[in-house]
Amino acid sequence: MRKSLFYGLLFTAPAILGFVIFTLGPMIASLVLSFTDYSVFKDHTSFIGLDNYIRMFSGADDYFYPSLGATFYFVVLRVPAVIILSFLIALLLNMNVKGRAFFRTVVYLPSIVPAVASAMIWMWLLNPDLGLVNTMLQAVGLPGSLWLYGESSVVPAVVLTSLWGIGGTVIIFLAGLSGIPRQYYEAIDVDGGGWFSKLRHITIPLVSPTIFFNAIMTLIGSIQVFNEAYILTQGGPNNKSLFYVFYLWRTGFRDTEMGYASALAWVLFLIILFFTFFVFRTSKSWVYYEGEGRS
């Protein structure tokens, strides 16, 4: 193949330009903004050094820690729930059942529903007085819940609504599972092991790269939860679902404190970077790559 720097750059120029204009440039700009008190309503913008960051961490901002807490709670509930449930569903779909294509469609379909529409459906299903979920719970003698309207139930309720859309994760797991050679399981059959030892010694190690990929993507996505807070709860009740990106949006666009919101954005960036790095570091001990062995 001949080399051509000219053509290489020509074909990739739009993408490189896009990266500079829409990613790198704004990133640097937001870092600069985060050291200012920029606001649409102010005539004068000045550099205030680290004041925005101090305001955040010193507790002068009444919402920063609650929003971190709400987001953390959401992530801690949602990531394991998504990974475990979609893995289990993928295991079921990977069995030798009839109508696999049908079940696969059923599981994937909800994940394409627009967030706003999905939110409407769930608001109605989880309506405390007239919704289907409470009605059914009461019919079997269980207490209902305030769901999105209760301080302690709002975050679990949002997690619940988001679990409707785990289809994409299930399909990725399914792809990982179908890549496991049959002979491995037959070896366990010969040794006389049951389904649990198959799961423990073959399935989980061999799909661990997929688990890792899904965990990272779910983690990054969950930290940035926005639509649910905006549409379902507006951060309430009592700021219990004041998710970080929603709070950032509110600060920057409703309260127009864009300097401070940029500082919030950079802290978010560092948090995501930290968690991703952390998961990557731990992955060495539990992710198995074929041909490399466990390192």
């Binding site: 053509y7 829409f22 379909l109 459906i121 769930w122 009605t135 930290i223 926005f226 990106v245």
Partner: protein
């Protein structure tokens, strides 16, 4: 995996349960969208609308200009799809079929943008578009698609291009074809299924986008379906018949597109997941 009869039975029971849980909300949506407001609230809940209120749809469509929202969403989505397919396939070509110094480093740098939370670039991007006078227009939602079309799509297409044998390009070179010719006559046509995957994902992402229109659009006559539906909800809080009819209208195109392009969707997710 070979399964015993007992575990198969268990599997069917669980799958049936999952089907009820995943499809139930759709049925609730359809049932509510076709019901009288009085029947909606009956206890215990009824599932069959009597009478069937088709006019919920026409009422929902007239209280807010959903026709306009529909057209707006369609215009934005179509423009984004064209831009994404063109620019991501061109870039993927440059990152896989043209050999040049620094190619992999540049690609890795672009890939790093995938880890970047959108919130970090949100405010400066907004200020930039506003300074250019494009606040409250479709441009901020459309133009970025023409500059790379998202690194994820470039990545996906590049993975696909790398599976096409090099000999094709070499043979074309010998015949005197240019890079553009190779892209247009060989690589693009051969990667049709991957291009469709990108186009379909792009359709869903753009159709479902909420934050973008929320931030950049102010005039109600420019609103998209997602924004319109959200506003509708704020105005008609307890009108579940109309809300569900409006939601059904927003959901339907996605379901149709998915069912038609199902094969490509599942392939596409598999492709990205495995290589990720």
């Amino acid at each position: 995996m070979r399964s015993s009869r007992l575990s198969l039975t268990f599997g069917y029971i669980m799958l049936a349960l999952i089907t009820v849980l995943f499809i139930g909300p759709f049925l609730w949506l359809i049932r509510s969208s076709l019901m009288d407001l009085s029947q909606i609230f009956t206890m215990p809940p009824e599932w069959i609308p009597r009478p069937v209120r088709w006019d919920n749809f026409s009422r929902a469509m007239t209280v807010l200009p959903f026709g306009t929202y529909f057209v707006n969403t369609l215009v934005i989505t179509a423009a984004v799809m064209v831009g994404t397919v063109l620019s991501s396939s061109v870039a993927a070509f440059g990152f896989s079929r043209v050999e040049w110094q620094g190619r992999n480093i540049v690609f890795a740098i672009l890939m790093s943008a995938m880890m970047l939370p959108g919130a970090v670039t949100l405010i400066p991007s907004f200020l930039g578009w506003q300074a250019l006078g494009f606040y409250d227009t479709f441009y901020p939602l459309i133009v970025p698609a023409y500059f790379g079309g998202g690194i994820f799509n470039i990545f996906l297409l590049r993975q696909f291009y790398l599976t096409i044998p090099r000999d094709f390009d070499e043979a074309a070179f010998v015949d005197g074809a240019s890079y553009f010719r190779i892209y247009r006559s060989i690589i693009f046509p051969l990667s049709r299924s991957a291009i469709i995957v990108v186009a379909l994902f792009c359709f869903l992402a753009s159709w479902n986008d909420f934050m973008g229109p929320l931030i950049y659009l102010k005039s109600e006559n420019l609103f998209t379906l997602a924004l319109g539906l959200q506003m509708f909800q704020g105005t008609y809080t307890a009108q579940w018949d109309l809300l569900m009819a409006a939601s059904a209208v927003v959901v339907l195109p996605c379901v149709v597109v998915f069912l038609v392009g199902q094969k490509y969707f599942l392939e596409g997710i598999t492709l990205t997941g495995l290589k990720g």
